[in-house]
């Protein structure tokens, strides 16, 4: 119950944040502009609207996760509201989980708005609905849940600037993890290869949540693979949240 109360409060706080609206406005502008770009594409209107729309939704969703996530705990400490909260009969883990769920709820609403706009524009261009686009946006949302958990983790022990840098690095490495492994296999010696492979296993593999390309090309989706990706995402989020709770438990706020 306490977790839900904190989540709702975090959501309310987030929807009042001007950063959220600035990022969302840019994202909606870019998604809308894809229709005009598509007109220059020699018959590839549908593809461009869907590609740009899904990419904008994922990229700007990540910005929202990073820029709102990094301040989740820091702001509470800075404003000293955290002292009032931890003085109440609320466990620290409940506070963190509430904060995380509140931001995930905010992301769900914003990514949902962007995905619906992409769906509507695709309907306008194609003349028929493509509900699989929502599945692609949903899969991307799982990746954003990992980014949010990473931002929360860094927010428990670092300043917002450093947290933003760390989370951005996690996002970039996660998106490129497959390529990093490939480069190491092709060019590095055995020692470096093993080290990179170990790193590859530890950093989040955000590329596995990308099914937009299959959806846009009408290729068959593998439900088992999507389920495995969802399981991986849940496990990774769980790991990051446990780490965040462990660090937050040891912090001294006196």
């Amino acid at each position: 119950m306490s977790v839900w109360a904190i989540a709702v409060n975090t959501f309310r706080e987030a929807v009042r944040d001007r950063i959220l609206y600035s990022i969302l406005a840019f994202a909606l502008l870019l998604i809308g502009a894809s229709v005009f770009l598509a007109g220059l594409s020699l018959g590839q209107e549908s593809r461009i609207v869907k590609d740009l729309g899904l990419a904008a939704s994922s990229l700007f969703g990540a910005f929202i996760a990073i820029f709102l996530g990094i301040g989740l705990v820091f702001k509470e400490i800075e404003r000293r509201t955290l002292y009032a909260i931890i003085a109440k009969p609320i466990h620290r883990y409940q506070f963190l989980l509430g904060k995380y769920l509140g931001l995930v709820l905010t992301l769900l609403v914003t990514v949902g708005v962007m995905a619906l706009l992409v769906l509507g524009l695709a309907r306008l261009v194609d003349g028929h609905w493509s509900p699989a686009l929502l599945l692609a946006a949903g899969s991307d949302f799982l990746a954003l849940m990992i980014v949010t958990a990473a931002a929360l983790l860094f927010s428990t022990f670092s300043t917002p600037t450093l947290s933003a840098l760390f989370t951005l690095a996690i996002f970039v490495i996660g998106r490129l993890s497959g390529d990093i492994r490939l480069f190491a296999e092709q060019f590095a010696g055995p020692g470096v290869r093993q080290a990179v492979f170990a790193l590859y296993l530890v950093v989040p593999d955000l590329a596995r949540f990308q099914i937009g390309s299959q959806v846009i090309h009408g290729l068959p989706l593998a439900p088992a693979e999507i389920a495995r990706a969802a399981g991986y995402g849940a496990a990774y989020v769980g790991m990051l949240l446990f780490l965040a709770i462990a660090i937050f438990q040891f912090r001294d706020f006196k």
Binding site: L37, L40, G43, R47, D51, S58, L176
Partner: protein, 236 residues
């Protein structure tokens, strides 16, 4: 009192806005205008400076479909610019290969790229290589196989290869209705002009751009002026 009024925030803000507007009109726009090339929109520079596909793949941060779209839009600008002037497309192959390296499932990049390579650049070898790559990467799509058959049939007059690719097309879902008829004609060694005309008319009907329609119209006119077809060579 007077001094205080001069420094009021509204006044400072108005002055700053006026200076900003002056700088925009008096310096930024004229200086930017000087840097605009009189020769065009800079598409050629952007084409020449386009990084190799491996670098673009990394820079795309996994959004490879979107990056492929952006390179495709550049390709369209490049084709448009040259169709309006010298009708030579020396960088087209590199551009299209970059697009399909970023998104190997971008079937239209293979087919449209090959069409312009064939009918504007007269580079049939590159067109064939591109379409073969398209057929390899997209074994369930009929379009690359069909366009290979068309190129071998109409332009290269290599009827055994055309027959092979029409047979490949015939096995793929969604293929055009006329493919079995063409296979029969190739076996019977008849109807070369009719087949070519039908292929171009089908392409004209399904064309999504005026450029493709223009190529189809030109080839249709050429075939209609030709009358009867020469006997096929290399045919079994």
């Amino acid at each position: 009192m007077r001094r205080h009024r001069l420094r009021s925030p509204a006044r400072v803000s108005t002055c700053c806005l006026a200076v900003a507007a002056l700088l925009l009109v008096g310096a930024v726009i004229p200086l930017h205008r000087q840097s605009v090339s009189p020769e065009g929109s800079g598409v050629e520079d952007r084409v020449l400076l386009l990084p190799p596909p491996a670098a673009l793949r990394a820079a795309a941060l996994g959004y490879r479909g979107m990056m492929a779209d952006l390179v495709w839009l550049l390709t369209i600008q490049y084709i448009g610019g040259h169709l309006a002037t010298d009708r030579r497309l020396p960088e087209l192959r590199r551009l299209v290969e970059t697009v399909v390296a970023l998104d190997p499932q971008f079937v239209e990049a293979y087919t449209l790229g090959a069409l312009f390579l064939s009918y504007t650049g007269r580079d049939y070898a590159s067109a064939i290589a591109l379409l073969e790559r398209g057929a390899r990467e997209n074994p369930t799509r009929w379009e690359p196989a069909h366009d290979l058959a068309r190129t071998y049939y109409i332009e290269l007059k290599d009827y055994p290869k055309a027959l092979h690719w029409f047979q490949v097309t015939d096995r793929l879902p969604g293929r055009p209705h006329y493919v079995p008829r063409f296979i029969a004609r190739l076996y019977a060694q008849t109807g070369q002009v009719e087949t070519a005309l039908e292929l171009w008319r089908a392409m004209r009907e399904s064309a999504t751009s005026d450029w493709v329609r223009e190529i189809a119209d030109r080839e249709i006119a050429k075939l209609e002026g030709q009358g009867t077809a020469p006997p096929p060579k290399g045919h079994r």
